[in-house]
């Protein structure tokens, strides 16, 4: 608990210092250190040890400078993935957390696509949120906002502001509750 507190504190201090530097940039893009620190803070907050994302297979294609991520799952630090329909099997709060996990997983994919340097990301153009749900459920906004705010916290307004779409799915591969797809431009 104490170690986690120290990790979060260090990440936040680094993020605060680098954010101050980022504000001084004229083109509005954040530098690598700022984005890395912000992403690390998100990962620590989600419970990933040392703020490091586990090794995963690439799940994207790149056409010229456009990255298309495949449907990206909400992989938890313990290796599990949330399953079941909302709200019958899981709660809205579970989906909000799953959205943050899937968002972090997507940023990790973008990092791989960008050669390990998230400052090579030019623009998050579009995010598609897919939720496994039942007919009467339509409370998608909290889960969508969970990732939309993370993108802004990590990339800032210039690269991180985006359009989006949310839909409810009757069935999904592996009965996964939540997945995200992104269209993202490299510099």
């Amino acid at each position: 608990m104490k170690a986690k507190f120290i990790q979060i504190s260090i990440a936040l201090i680094v993020f605060a210092i680098t954010s101050f530097n980022a504000n001084a940039q004229s083109d509005g893009f954040r530098d690598k250190e700022t984005i890395d620190a912000a992403f690390m803070a998100e990962l620590i907050n989600l419970g990933f040890e040392n703020g490091e994302y586990p090794d995963v297979e690439p799940g994207f294609t790149i056409t010229e400078n456009l990255i298309r991520t495949e449907p990206t799952s909400a992989l938890a630090p313990d290796g599990s993935i949330l399953q079941g329909h909302v709200p019958t099997d899981v709660t809205t709060e579970d989906v909000v957390h799953a959205s943050a996990l899937a968002c972090a997983a997507s940023i990790n994919q973008l990092k791989m696509a960008a050669g390990g340097d998230l400052s090579n990301i030019r623009k998050i153009a579009n995010i598609r949120y897919k939720t496994l749900t039942v007919k009467k459920y339509f409370d998608y906004i909290p889960a969508s906002n969970s990732c939309s705010t993370m993108m802004l916290r990590v990339f800032g307004d210039t690269a991180g502001s985006h359009t989006r779409h949310a839909e409810g799915q009757a069935t999904t591969a592996g009965n996964q509750t939540f997945q995200i797809e992104m269209l993202v431009y490299l510099k």
């Binding site: 030019r122 623009k123 153009a125 579009n126 995010i127 749900t133 039942v134 007919k135 009467k136 459920y137 339509f138 998608y140 906004i141 969508s144 906002n145 939309s148 705010t149 802004l152 502001s161 985006h162 359009t163 989006r164 779409h165 949310a166 839909e167 409810g168 799915q169 009757a170 269209l183 431009y185």
Partner: protein, 187 residues
């Protein structure tokens, strides 16, 4: 039997409307044709202001010449959203009205993304018609046809031509009845 007759009649009218559009489109401007549609749908003061979005995201994003918009729901001239899940008893004209309002909302987002003038539009890539209608709802294809026909009536057959897909969502955010997404590019 009456439902089938009604559906056939609407399809016939849509076809006639498209034929008329093809003949007259070269004689009118985009703004003329847009204003005709706006007036028909009850917008007395031209294009309405965009309603606020539901979270930290943008109505549109432009990268180079590519235009992305957030999925657009049906916003009425009275300033309300058309909400509610479609059932097999929902009249076709209700869905048609909702679909046409989503086209206005989507084109409005595109217009504002490219300097407030649809004449800056270079063309459309694709249109996604998103419906909450049940699997066996008989009018989905007709609603998609009406969506495409309206886009072509406003933009003309050359500028307005597009690929199209229909996406059935279990439900949509805020219980929206219908949404349309258009991918486009500038001149």
């Amino acid at each position: 039997m009456m439902k089938k007759l009604f559906a056939i009649s609407l399809l016939f009218l849509a076809a006639c409307s498209e034929q008329t559009t093809m003949e007259t489109v070269t004689e009118t401007t985009i703004d003329d044709r847009l204003n005709i549609e706006l007036e028909r749908l009850g917008f007395k003061d031209g294009m309405p202001e965009l309603p606020p979005v539901f979270g930290p995201y943008e109505p549109s994003v432009v990268v180079d010449k590519e235009i992305y918009i957030t999925a657009s729901a049906a916003y009425t001239p009275e300033g309300t959203w058309i909400t509610g899940t479609i059932t097999n008893d929902t009249p076709a004209e209700h869905m048609l009205y909702a679909a046409e309002l989503t086209v206005i909302q989507a084109l409005n987002r595109i217009r504002l993304a490219i300097g407030g003038d649809l004449n800056n539009l270079g063309g459309l890539h694709n249109v996604v018609v998103m419906t909450t209608a049940p699997d066996d709802y008989p009018h989905v294809e007709m609603v998609a046809e009406a969506t495409s026909a309206m886009i072509i009536r406003i933009l003309g057959p050359e500028l307005g031509k597009h690929e199209r897909s229909i996406l059935r969502s279990v439900s949509l955010p805020v219980n929206m009845t219908h949404e349309t997404e258009i991918r486009a590019y500038t001149k």
